[in-house]
């Protein structure tokens, strides 16, 4: 495979690319709250929530190979923790984030113990049960003193309704506002109907935290042991990886992180109920799965790209409620639908994508980007020998046909 250019990892060209990519991401993140309307910001928050959930699922499924169709329950743990603490006990929503993390972490660890004894489809079923049970439990009559039962938690708590929520006592009742030379980089937070921008920044913060945690784990000894478990459990154990402890911890971290976007959803929605927040039903769990797979399982940026694409596509096609709204070329195909055909369109896209890009969008990038620019990894080892040149001789001397 020929490539147009070859650059060294950590070299000037590599850094230039990294910086350029970072600038683009920053620009996008700043563009949404400052230059678009409340509707777009709301959609962006949805995307960010999905990103967070899919990234935490990715840690468990993409890297460690433990399937979970129950992550909606962990997101629900977050949403309900924030909802209950704010509306019933008057907590500041800030403090509910760590509490939600800890509670969901504990639930994840508990689930991991049966999960460490079962694999594959059976694990999928057990976690699916979790997703199905969660909405039942929170709408249970006998728990309505806590969860509000079927009608959900009381919406529009004063603090939440007025301000998004209060940032400390001093600024109670008014939004924080930042301005640099007349430009407000966070979006206009003063207008009461622009709470969206404030929630947006909370969602961004949550996604950044989840990303940093995932990155730290994945690029470490722990991350290698996770992938080792995914690839070959027996071998991983022989190398000294404690299977039960590692799975328990990954389950816990994954569940705990998944609760954080749940908290964001609770703040954004104002009320918490399985009807109000679809992500805490089994539908949500399946969406996280789809988002992760579309973006690319087992990669850091996969769920981020997957969520952006998912929300973008469903948002556009979701608007095709009437014939007039559908672009002319596509009208004959979708005009017959009574409801917006977004789910159907995405399903078809998913099937096509699984054929052309089984490793998701990031997989496509990894496969084809070396044809344009190949990044040579930093040589490993203290001798610093040339990495590629002798490859041919080695494969010749040690190969006698390609076994398996």
């Amino acid at each position: 495979m020929k490539s147009l250019a070859t650059i060294r990892e950590g070299g000037a060209a590599n850094w230039a690319f990294r910086i350029a990519a970072t600038v683009v991401v920053f620009a996008l993140v700043l563009y949404v709250p400052t230059k678009t309307g409340a509707g777009t910001i709301q959609t962006a928050i949805e995307a960010l929530v999905l990103m967070g959930a899919a990234m935490s699922l990715n840690l468990l499924l993409g890297y460690t190979g433990q399937i979970s169709i129950g992550h909606s329950a962990f997101l629900g743990m977050g949403a309900y923790t924030t909802g209950i603490l704010v509306s019933r006990y008057g907590w500041s929503p800030w403090y509910t984030f760590p509490v939600a993390f800890v509670l969901s972490f504990a639930l994840g660890v508990i689930v991991s113990f049966p999960a460490s004894r079962i694999k594959g489809v059976y694990l999928a079923l057990v976690t699916l049960a979790l997703a199905l049970v969660f909405p039942q439990v929170v709408t249970w009559k006998k728990l309505s003193w806590l969860t509000g039962g079927g009608s959900g938690l009381p919406t529009k708590d004063a603090q939440v309704a007025d301000t998004g929520f209060n940032i400390g006592a001093a600024s109670r009742g008014q939004m924080q506002y930042f301005e640099i030379f007349g430009w407000n980089p966070l979006g206009d937070l003063r207008k009461p109907d622009n709470k969206a921008a404030f929630w947006y920044w909370i969602a961004v913060g949550v996604v950044v935290i989840i990303y940093l945690v995932c990155r730290g784990l994945v690029k470490s000894r722990v991350g290698r042991s996770m992938v080792a478990i995914r690839d070959n459990e027996t071998a991983a154990a022989v190398m000294g990886v404690n299977l039960v402890a590692t799975k328990a911890f990954v389950f816990g971290i994954s569940a705990g992180l998944c609760a954080l976007p749940g908290c964001v959803t609770a703040i954004k929605t104002g009320g918490v109920s399985p009807e109000g927040i679809q992500s805490l039903t089994v539908r949500g769990a399946i969406t996280f799965l789809i988002v992760m797979v579309v973006g690319g399982a087992g990669s850091l940026w996969g769920p981020i790209i997957g969520a952006a694409v998912y929300v973008y596509v469903t948002d556009i096609t979701g608007g095709w409620a009437s014939d007039e709204a559908i672009p002319g070329v596509l009208r004959p195909f979708f005009g017959w639908a009574k409801i917006p055909p977004s789910d159907g369109i995405f399903a078809v896209l998913l099937i096509v994508l699984m054929f052309v890009a089984p490793r998701g969008l990031v997989g496509v990038w990894r496969q084809y980007s070396p044809r344009i620019v190949r990044v040579l990894p930093r040589p490993a080892g203290t001798t610093g020998a040339a990495p590629v040149a002798i490859a041919a001789t080695i494969t010749n001397t040690h190969s006698e046909g390609e076994h398996e």
């Binding site: 945690v213 730290g216 784990l217 690029k219 470490s220 000894r221 722990v222 991350g223 290698r224 042991s225 992938v227 080792a228 995914r230 690839d231 070959n232 027996t234 071998a235 991983a236 154990a237 022989v238 190398m239 000294g240 990886v241 404690n242 299977l243 911890f249 971290i253 087992g298 990894p377 040589p379 490993a380 080892g381 203290t382 001798t383 020998a385 990495p387 590629v388 040149a389 002798i390 490859a391 080695i394 494969t395 040690h398 190969s399 006698e400 046909g401 390609e402 076994h403 398996e404």
Partner: protein, 271 residues
């Protein structure tokens, strides 16, 4: 180490030095339901030796391996490593004791690069756990050190140029070498090799015999070798244990075992 092929102990060893057994397998029995895979097997391995474990298919050699590497729990018996009961150590604990193994049918991590495979091999040497990885306390430093260590090991085994290729799809012989490199990454004192020569060509088998002796000398290893390839076992082993139907039928120097009636019968049948 001379490879004279007759099992004369050529380890340089002082007259009065006490010979310590590295591994004592004592009366180990493994039953799977009604099948007796190992039936009261006992043998021991001296430090620094290469010990060959031979026997026809189904003799229980791999079962023995899986007992020592704690994948199977024996029904009866005890396995002591440096005099310490091994059966109380969990499967993930043996690497830290200095026991590493290779697998008969390859148990690599196919999606990982060769370098990452070897880095996982060094797992028991590392210290960064979940909290330190999340908060990045010393994780980068450990990564660099492990990476260099693994890179050097790959170079030594002639796999350096392939370091960044995924293990999936590489030739069998190369992957067998990678298994050895990965096992060595745990800095073991005791290496178990399960049929390292299977699936290799004649040329590769000779090379492998040399490699095993080299790494034994260089890393100060004791090696337990399960192998069907008789000429290799007999030429590099200091001691050979022969098994049949889960029992030991002979134990001694390669020359002794080769002369043993029971072994000849087991391999050739009675006339």
């Amino acid at each position: 180490m001379s490879a004279n092929g007759y099992g004369v102990d050529t380890q340089p060893r002082g007259e009065d030095e006490v010979v310590v057994n590295l591994l004592d397998v004592d009366d180990v029995t493994v039953r799977f339901g009604g099948i007796v895979a190992l039936d009261g097997l006992s043998f021991s391995i001296e430090e620094g030796h290469i010990c060959g474990l031979i026997g026809p298919n189904g003799a229980g050699k791999t079962t023995m391996f899986n007992v020592v590497s704690r994948i199977y729990q024996p029904t009866l018996g005890s396995v002591r490593f440096r005099g310490q009961e091994l059966l109380r150590t969990p499967a993930h604990g043996i690497a830290r004791l200095g026991i590493a193994r290779t697998f008969q049918n390859l148990a690599l991590f196919p999606t990982m690069s060769l370098l990452d495979n070897v880095m996982v091999g060094a797992h028991s040497q590392g210290k960064v756990g979940f909290p330190r990885a999340i908060f990045r306390v010393g994780a980068a430093k450990e990564n660099r050190e492990t990476r260099d260590f693994a890179g050097d090991l790959l170079q030594q085994l002639g796999l350096g140029p392939l370091a960044f290729r995924p293990a999936m799809g590489l030739p069998f012989g190369t992957l067998k070498r990678l298994e050895i490199a990965r096992a060595l990454a745990a800095k073991p004192t005791f290496l178990l090799m399960d049929e390292p020569a299977s699936g290799l060509t004649h040329g590769e088998v000779d090379e492998l015999g040399d490699t095993i002796q080299q790494i034994r000398d260089q890393f100060g290893l004791t090696v337990l070798l399960v192998e069907h390839h008789m000429s290799m076992v007999m030429s590099i082993s200091d001691r050979v244990v022969a098994m049949e139907f889960g029992r030991k039928i002979a134990d001694g120097t390669p020359a002794e075992v080769q002369q043993n009636e029971a072994v000849i019968t087991a391999y050739l049948g009675t006339s």
